[in-house]
């Protein structure tokens, strides 16, 4: 609660929280909010490429679908992708970071080397290659993104664990004979949690962007999914005449990622009140 109040005191962070909450609400109630919820699937070619009007506030796309509805319906997909990718990446990265940070010697070295290997592969290229692994599509793209994002969690948790391992309270716990697993789970993990949460928030923004890029390159979400990146890709050949086609999905990406980043910054400030700062 105190953390929330402190978060709200920073107008920028509060804005971020507001955007993310707004997106959450939109995502949850998307089918009721969208004026034409069936436009997630249905095309009406007679009314294609209509400019914004009272009937279609954001205009229609190349298959005559209401863009407002599709932007609203796309929110859910974007958030689902972001949350599940980051969750999966955390599930891989956090244990690796914990173990590598706690243990000395070859295991730790090996784990961090593997992490480095994954870091050395350009993310998008790995994601593209992996997308071809089973078959292109949102599911594969999500697997690919999780497989490329976990090293960031491993790095973060590794650093935190290393820092906390040498701290006095861990020495004290070890001295009274607490097993390492309990120290890691009950003491180090909660202490590393703020760093993980911040990393996760930023990671969600990042994931949405990368997933959109994959969609843009044609290996992410599959049509007729109302994916924002896909919409921008589809809109390209209608620019600049049908400006509304790319503008609104593009803005939706911008806004949600912006909200997540602002929130991440705010959380970092709360987690680290020594100094109100914002790091990438």
């Amino acid at each position: 609660m105190i953390a929330l109040r402190r978060l709200l005191r920073d107008p920028v962070a509060a804005l971020g929280l507001a955007i993310v909450l707004f997106a959450l609400v939109v995502a949850v109630f998307a089918p009721w909010l969208a004026p034409y919820p069936e436009d997630a699937f249905e095309s009406h070619i007679i009314q294609r490429l209509r400019p914004p009007s009272a009937e279609f506030p954001f205009g229609t796309d190349a298959l005559g679908r209401d863009i407002l509805s599709r932007v609203i319906l796309g929110t859910r997909g974007a958030l689902v992708v972001a949350v599940s990718v980051v969750l999966a990446a955390a599930l891989i990265g956090v244990p690796i970071g914990l173990v590598a940070g706690w243990r000395e010697g070859w295991l730790s070295d090996l784990l961090m080397r593997v992490t480095d290997v994954f870091l050395a592969v350009p993310q998008l290229i790995l994601a593209l290659a992996l997308s071809q692994l089973m078959r292109p599509g949102l599911g594969t793209a999500m697997v690919a993104l999780a497989l490329t994002y976990w090293p960031f969690f491993a790095r973060t948790v590794y650093a935190e664990t290393r820092r906390l391992r040498v701290s006095l309270f861990v020495d004290a716990l070890a001295a009274i004979g607490m097993p390492p697993r309990r120290i890691l789970l009950a003491h180090i993990l909660p202490n590393a949690a703020p760093a993980i949460i911040v990393r996760a928030t930023i990671g969600m923004g990042f994931t949405i962007l990368t997933a959109a890029t994959l969609g843009f390159l044609g290996v992410g979400a599959a049509p007729p999914d109302p994916d924002w990146g896909l919409a921008v890709a589809e809109s390209r050949q209608h620019l600049p005449e049908a400006w509304w086609f790319s503008t609104f999905p593009g803005l939706a990406i911008l806004l949600l990622v912006l909200g997540l980043n602002l929130l991440g910054d705010g959380l970092r400030d709360v987690a680290d009140p020594r100094l109100r700062r914002s790091r990438g």
Binding site: R113, A120, V121, A129, A212, P240, L262, R277, S278
Partner: protein, 337 residues
């Protein structure tokens, strides 16, 4: 220092080895059938089998990996399954384009990012600070492919200020190839017109690519400077009479950029990734488009080489970053030996 650099290089080697194995395993599971692609549209199944045998694609995977490792050791990346040309040569033709683009973007991101970050920190919680904070967060939030299209439409189509695509004007032609970096080659042959033209072609893609990096660097510099400003030695330096400018621009910045420099290394990976979309839109003939092409046509030799080359470049950049850090902060080089 020399020992430190050597150690950094040696540490990078196992990672590169891991990369070779990892990329091989990943790429060879790609389902697109290179033999079928190679055989062409009108191929019979029997032709496909012959091609499979000729390229060793019918051997067990482990054997293919060994062959691959031996080839990589000798710098032989094989021939592209797709174009039947040496992959090393194809990449050699394309790598400079990507490096020219990414280095320019990196330089742009660093110079402006550090400047903005410093300005923001010195105006902590002031208007400049808020503006830079918002801009840097927005810079990280913009989808580069979207930005690229908007920049094209605005600066090339509407305003007619900058070229739309490519590296150099078709009529002007590329400069005589020495390094493959058009800017450098144009200077070497003393052609100002080509230099200017290559530079104009660089602007839009480099700006698009630089923006997220710029935002990251600005954020890190800002927080680094803020953190450093809290340090006792800054207080001491002020007490001892250091000048304000010298304090901010040299004394504090050098400490503050250590975190930033690490970011520059990590950013390079992101830049190469970003280059994939940016190169495609701006028609930049680099390895980003090459990689996409390789993936789409299941050209696994090319893809393997691209991953490895990018990995090597990434490793080199990060060794350079480590060296830079050692130069900036002498403690780094001392304690890790």
């Amino acid at each position: 220092m020399a020992a430190y650099v050597l150690r950094r290089i040696l540490l990078a080697l196992p990672a590169l080895f891991g990369l070779v194995v990892l990329s091989f395993v990943l790429v060879r599971i790609v389902p697109g059938d290179p033999a079928a692609t190679l055989a062409g549209d009108a191929a019979t199944p029997q032709q496909v089998e012959e091609i499979r045998a000729r390229y060793g694609l019918d051997r067990p995977l482990a054997e293919q990996l060994l062959v691959h490792l031996r080839q990589v050791m000798t710098g032989d990346f094989g021939r592209s399954v797709f174009s039947d040309r040496p992959v090393a040569e194809e990449i050699g033709q394309r790598l400079p384009a990507t490096l020219e683009l990414t280095f320019c973007a990196l330089a742009m991101a660093t110079v402006f990012g550090v400047g903005l970050g410093l300005a923001a920190a010195l105006d902590h919680n002031g208007p400049v600070d808020h503006l830079v904070r918002l801009l840097s967060v927005a810079g990280l939030a913009v989808a580069s492919f979207w930005l690229a299209i908007l920049l094209q439409l605005l600066f090339a189509m509407d305003l007619d200020l900058l070229p739309l695509r490519g590296r150099i004007d078709v009529e002007l032609g590329p400069p005589a190839e020495r390094t493959g970096f058009f800017l450098v080659d144009a200077l070497l042959e003393g052609r100002r017109d080509r230099f200017v033209d290559a530079l104009r072609h660089l602007v839009l893609p480099a700006v698009t690519l630089a923006l997220p990096g710029l935002a990251t660097i600005a954020r890190f510099t800002r927080s680094g400077v803020l953190e450093t400003l809290q340090k006792d030695f800054v207080l001491y330096a002020r007490a001892a009479g250091y000048g304000r400018f010298r304090l901010a621009a040299i004394y504090v910045l050098r400490n503050a950029v250590t975190a930033t420099v690490t970011q520059v290394g990590l950013l390079f990976g992101a830049l190469i990734s970003g280059a994939v979309a940016v190169e495609a839109i701006f028609d930049w003939p680099g390895i980003g488009t090459y990689a996409v092409r390789a993936i789409l046509s299941a050209d696994y030799k090319a893809l393997l080489a691209v991953t490895l080359v990018v990995g090597v470049v990434y490793a080199v950049v990060n060794v350079l970053v480590d060296v830079a850090q050692g130069l900036i902060d002498p403690r780094v080089a001392d304690t890790s030996e």
